[in-house]
């Protein structure tokens, strides 16, 4: 038990150190990409808490990501608060949206849960378009360079941005590790494995699920809020269905129910599209074929497969 814990600490600490070190060696292009991937991987980790560990498949997570993004963006553009405060506003707003939508959506289960979350996310997307006066609809808006700094640190500067993305990612990773190792996380896994049995062991399953949605939404919102201040653009496309499907895809590719899977999946997908679009304009064709092969030969995702074959202790 403790030996596994030490190994896990070494592995995840090593990954974090590696990411930190990479910023000094990567060329500018990949440097920027990795910052983006780290922010999006935090989103995927939040998604993984709900899908990979609790077994709830939401098709509406874009709503929580966008709640963070717009919460932060609008707080800056409409109310003129500082980026640091706006970041907190975005996370709180996204968490709140998550808990309210979660409480409603949890009245359903299975396919109905997927459809209800999808519909709520669509309603959110349409709401953003409807209030175009403030949100500038489809076109979105840019957060002014001058507003993108936290206590003197210019978040648009590549190094600062990388470091900020790293902090967001580390926070998400540590949170996931803590949750997974905790009693709370183990109950979530029990719910995924056999909900009725978990209930008949005396656990208030509904409350655990709602807490999982709240946590998951707060990570999605953190990622959205950080994306806004780090990359300076707030647009309705982030609330669209595509951004609900992407975290599902990242998590499936990387390995649902593994802590590092979301990072691996996001990185893999990002560079798959990046590289294949360098070869042909029909890049989705290449990406599609690779994805089909991956689901055929590693149905549990890259890290899931690794765990199954070699590293049983992988959290």
């Amino acid at each position: 038990m403790t030996a596994d814990m030490r190994k896990s600490l070494l592995l995840h600490g090593g990954v974090l150190l590696g990411l930190l070190a990479l910023q000094y060696v990567l060329p500018a292009y990949h440097h920027g990409n990795l910052a983006r991937v780290m922010v999006l991987a935090s989103y995927a980790m939040g998604y993984n808490l709900l899908f990979g560990y609790t077994g709830l498949l939401s098709l509406g997570h874009a709503l929580f990501f966008a709640a963070g993004l717009y919460g932060t963006g609008l707080a800056i553009s409409q109310f003129g608060v500082s980026a640091g405060v706006a970041l907190a506003v975005g996370v709180l707003f996204g968490t709140l949206v998550g808990i309210v939508i979660g409480a409603l959506a949890l009245r359903t289960e299975g396919v109905a849960f997927m459809i209800v979350t999808l519909m709520f996310a669509q309603a959110g997307y349409l709401t953003i378009l409807y209030f175009g006066q403030y949100t500038r609809g489809d076109e979105g808006f840019v957060i002014a360079l001058a507003d993108r700094n936290i206590s003197g640190w210019d978040l648009s500067d590549p190094s600062v941005r990388y470091f900020a993305a790293f902090i967001v990612f580390s926070a998400a990773l540590l949170m996931c590790l803590t949750v997974v190792k905790s009693r709370f996380g183990k109950v979530l896994i029990a719910i995924r494995e056999n909900e009725e049995r978990a209930r008949m062991l005396g656990y208030n399953v509904d409350r655990f699920k709602l807490a999982a949605i709240g946590l998951s939404a707060s990570l999605a919102a953190l990622s959205g809020a950080a994306y806004g201040v780090l990359f300076g653009y707030v647009g309705a496309s982030f609330a669209s269905v595509q951004y609900s499907i992407l975290p599902l895809l990242w998590v499936l590719l990387g390995g649902a129910g593994t802590v590092l899977g979301p990072l691996v999946g996001t990185l893999f997908m990002f560079y798959l599209i990046d590289l294949s679009s360098g070869i042909t304009t029909a890049y989705m064709l290449i990406a599609g074929v690779v994805l089909v092969f991956l689901t055929l030969f590693a149905p549990q995702g890259l890290m899931g497969e690794l765990r199954r074959r070699a590293i049983r202790w992988l959290p």
């Binding site: 029990a190 056999n194 008949m200 208030n204």
Partner: protein, 240 residues
């Protein structure tokens, strides 16, 4: 004092009464068996007692509190242990983690959990298999694992729905020993088809037929009762 009481418990499914006006009193520490022919309403009755089935009418008191409207998880937290008729475990988790999940609801300290898990596993004889995936166990061992999960909760009342179903002869004997050890401390309420088991472990037997209690008494009285023989064994001459 009674740990469990039911008054006028009724469950209707589309006009059909699966359980009809059942009154029950189970005193502290008793081993109570619930028997009856197939379709008598045993599982529905136990479902109402554990909170999985909402009664159409009637009331349930557990440990001095009226629990009729309580959801199942709350009743279990209050001290009702429940094992399923059809084995319900966490097949992809280890045997140890299965039992730990049961123990962890009440216990927070890692040491205490470990102790509770170890003693529950040793109790049912699965101590040496704690690292295996629960799904890899044989059916009989999965049943024992379920019982271990019930024990690890240290319940005041343990409800067992056909615990010996599918167990081999030796395993049944082990089960009888287990119940003997619990006797006095934990109240046990079991649905059982195996009459030998009932005769050996039960202090008191409730016989259900077509949703009604038709007889209550000690195993001996039940065996001697003509009412039971007619209902349960299908005719007055079926004394065997």
């Amino acid at each position: 004092m009674n740990i469990l009481s039911a008054r006028g418990l009724t469950k209707n499914f589309n006009g059909l009464s699966a359980v009809d006006n059942v009154c029950l009193d189970v005193p502290h520490g008793q081993v109570r068996a619930l028997i009856g022919p197939n379709g008598a309403g045993k599982t529905t009755l136990v479902g109402m007692l554990s909170g999985r089935v909402t009664p159409s009418s009637g009331s349930i008191t557990f440990d001095g509190r009226e629990v009729t409207s309580w959801p199942s998880h709350k009743r279990i937290a209050a001290g009702v242990g429940y094992t399923f008729q059809i084995t319900s475990i966490f097949p992809n988790l280890s045997v140890w983690e299965n039992v730990a999940l049961a123990a962890r609801r009440k216990l927070t300290a890692a040491k205490a959990v470990e102790q509770a898990v170890r003693s529950a596993l040793d109790e049912v004889g699965l101590g040496s298999r704690q690292a295996e995936s629960a799904g890899d166990l044989s059916y009989g061992h999965q049943r024992l694992l379920e019982i271990a999960m019930g024990l690890a909760q240290a319940p005041k009342l343990l409800i067992l729905d056909e615990p010996t179903q599918g167990l081999a002869g030796g395993e049944v004997a082990d089960f009888l020993n287990l119940i003997a050890k619990l006797r006095g401390g934990t109240t046990v309420f079991l649905i059982e088809h195996n009459m030998d088991v009932v005769m050996q472990v039960a202090d008191f037997v409730t016989v259900l037929d077509s949703g009604r209690v038709i007889f209550e008494g000690t195993p001996k009285e039940v065996k001697a009762s003509e009412t039971v023989q007619v209902a349960y064994l299908g005719g007055g001459d079926a004394a065997a």
